[in-house]
């Protein structure tokens, strides 16, 4: 079964069509890269898939639930992490895990075992009582990802998770993504780093609200006669007419 199935999904704001009739599927356990220039409609599409914005028309299921009728069930079955906001800086690492565990309805026992597991897995056991704001960005991003997975969601949405992160940590982060996908979690990720697009199983590229390309990195490079994903992206994004105004 597909983790995400989208048919002709559209979102209009007044006369402006932010997302224009997009259709695609994401398989279970797949790492799906969702690319596009600034203003192409990625964020709007992602907000709809997370049940945060109501589509104007179309059909979609996420984690097997209908986007129009079962948005609350979707929210319980997915994890979400963005670069901008994911953790409470004035809470400690342990408190953040407890908070998110509580939000997703985990029992005290589950929260305790999750906390122990995560702290050990991340090598943060000694910093359990450190405030998140004093953690280096790279650690914060890894912790955010783990916290987004605290309720073992079927799908995790990552919105530019590696922006501004140093090159070593950026790669460690992708190792975590691979591990999650290997364990069966579906990963839906956006990024501005084109080398990261190569790490995805399949990639879609949005232009002016539409999905203008979809395939494995190898297929897309062949289709657009480019040597790497940066080349594919530049060719497609240059087609954009509406710009980012």
């Amino acid at each position: 079964m597909n983790a995400i199935a989208v048919q002709n999904l559209t979102k209009q704001f007044g006369s402006f069509t932010a997302v224009d009739n997009i259709s695609f599927d994401v398989k279970r356990g797949e790492i799906f890269g969702f690319l596009g220039a600034n203003g192409a409609g990625k964020t709007t599409a992602m907000r709809m898939l997370c049940g945060l914005s109501f589509p104007t028309r179309g059909e979609a299921t996420v984690a097997g639930f209908d986007l129009f009728r079962e948005a609350e069930k979707i929210k319980k079955s997915i994890g979400y992490m963005s670069q901008k906001f994911s953790l409470y800086e004035d809470l400690t690492i342990k408190e953040n895990i407890r908070f998110y565990g509580g939000i997703y309805g985990l029992t005290d026992g589950q929260i305790k075992s999750k906390t122990d597991f995560m702290l050990q897995h991340l090598g943060l056991s000694e910093q359990a009582n450190t405030l998140v704001k004093s953690l280096p960005l790279g650690w914060r991003q890894k912790l955010s990802f783990s916290v987004a997975m605290v309720h073992e969601p079927q799908i995790v949405f990552l919105d530019e998770p590696t922006g501004g992160v140093d090159p070593v940590t950026r790669r460690e982060f992708w190792t975590m993504i691979y591990e999650a996908a290997h364990a069966g979690t579906t990963v839906f990720v956006t990024t501005h780093y084109m080398d990261e697009a190569e790490y995805c199983d399949r990639v879609s590229i949005m232009v002016d609200g539409r999905i203008d390309a979809l395939g494995t990195p190898t297929e897309l490079k062949e289709q657009f006669s480019a040597s790497d994903m940066a080349g594919v992206f530049l060719k497609l994004a240059r087609r954009a007419k509406r710009g980012d105004d």
């Binding site: 405030l131 501004g164 790669r171 790497d228």
Partner: protein, 306 residues
């Protein structure tokens, strides 16, 4: 002449427990008319350094000068001569595009007309929105307006703090083309970025990490300093390939780079045949090694590993 001189600058901030050293004895020079890149991840100290050089913050120790003026004693002279585009959008959201530009021109005792030729190439791209409030512009447009406002008084040195963060690959490329154009007008440009691929577009770069400079050189110079042969490798299962390579004692480092992994061996003369044979024993029959040229990221990671 040197446009910027930084000499042993240190800066610490108080944190909840003790203090954080944001800059640890930083020293470097920037030549007049140079496009100089400060490359490093978030938290490296880039913004602190910019704030010291633009006289908005005073270093704990060390000295620095911009355009021949001391950042502490001559702060007023420096403020007239530098353009500064902070990382966070800091124009007046409730003023229109045109009002913002005219406001900054007035602050520096000039007019938009007087220096129009300097901002023209950038301003024409946003001129059709000149009556729109700055707060209602898209990210790319805001960035162009901010650059215009930083340029309108014809600064001799331009400081740009992460102008391309969060910007897509196409707009990033366009922005760097703009910087190249500006450089021709003999403006010294100091620009910071967390994107390592942008380093190759600078004349010289300083790599910075946790408050320390890892290296300063031309992009080519930095790439050449990797010091060991670099190999790229591909196989059908890249995930397993990574795991196996990392577990081999011959391997010094192995990182994913797009569709390849980049590998450095402990021993420069490592026989690839041996490695391929060892991989075959572990079930990876199709690993293909090729010698490859290092990128700035390869060098940065090697320097981080030291």
């Amino acid at each position: 002449m040197k446009s910027v001189i930084v000499n042993g600058v240190q800066k610490s901030f108080k944190a909840n427990k003790g203090s954080v050293q944001a800059l640890k004895e930083i020293s470097f020079d920037v030549e007049q008319g140079e496009l100089f890149g400060l490359i490093g991840p978030d938290g490296a100290g880039k913004t602190t350094l910019f704030r010291i050089l633009t006289t908005l913050m005073i270093a704990d120790s060390g000295s620095a000068s911009v355009d021949g003026f001391d950042v502490v004693k001559d702060f007023k002279a420096i403020r007239k001569r530098v353009g500064y585009m902070p990382g966070r959008f800091s124009l007046y959201q409730d003023l229109s595009v045109e009002e913002n530009l005219s406001f900054f021109a007035t602050l520096f005792d000039t007019t938009i007309e007087e220096n129009y030729d300097l901002v023209k190439d950038i301003y024409i791209q946003i001129e059709k929105f000149k009556h729109r409030k700055a707060g209602a512009l898209s990210g790319g447009m805001k960035q162009k307006l901010a650059l215009c406002c930083a340029l309108i008084h014809k600064p001799s040195v331009l400081f740009l703090d992460e102008p391309t963060t969060g910007v897509d690959a196409v707009s990033r490329q366009e922005f760097w083309e703009l910087l190249r154009q500006l450089q021709k007008q003999n403006i010294t440009i100091v620009v910071s970025t967390p994107y390592m691929d942008e380093a190759s577009l600078c004349d010289r770069v300083a790599l910075i990490q946790q408050g320390s400079l890892l290296d300063i050189d031309t992009p080519k110079g930095i790439m050449n300093k990797l010091g060991k042969p670099l190999w790229s490798v591909r196989a059908s299962d890249m995930y397993v390939l990574m795991k196996e390579l990392k577990s081999m004692y011959e391997v010094f480092s192995c990182y994913p780079f797009g569709q390849e992994h980049h590998v450095i061996f402990h021993n420069d003369g490592q026989s690839i045949l041996e490695i391929e044979t060892a991989l075959k024993k572990k079930g990876i029959a199709d690993a293909q090694f090729k010698r490859t040229e290092p990128t700035i990221e390869d060098s940065f990671m090697k320097l981080m590993n030291k």
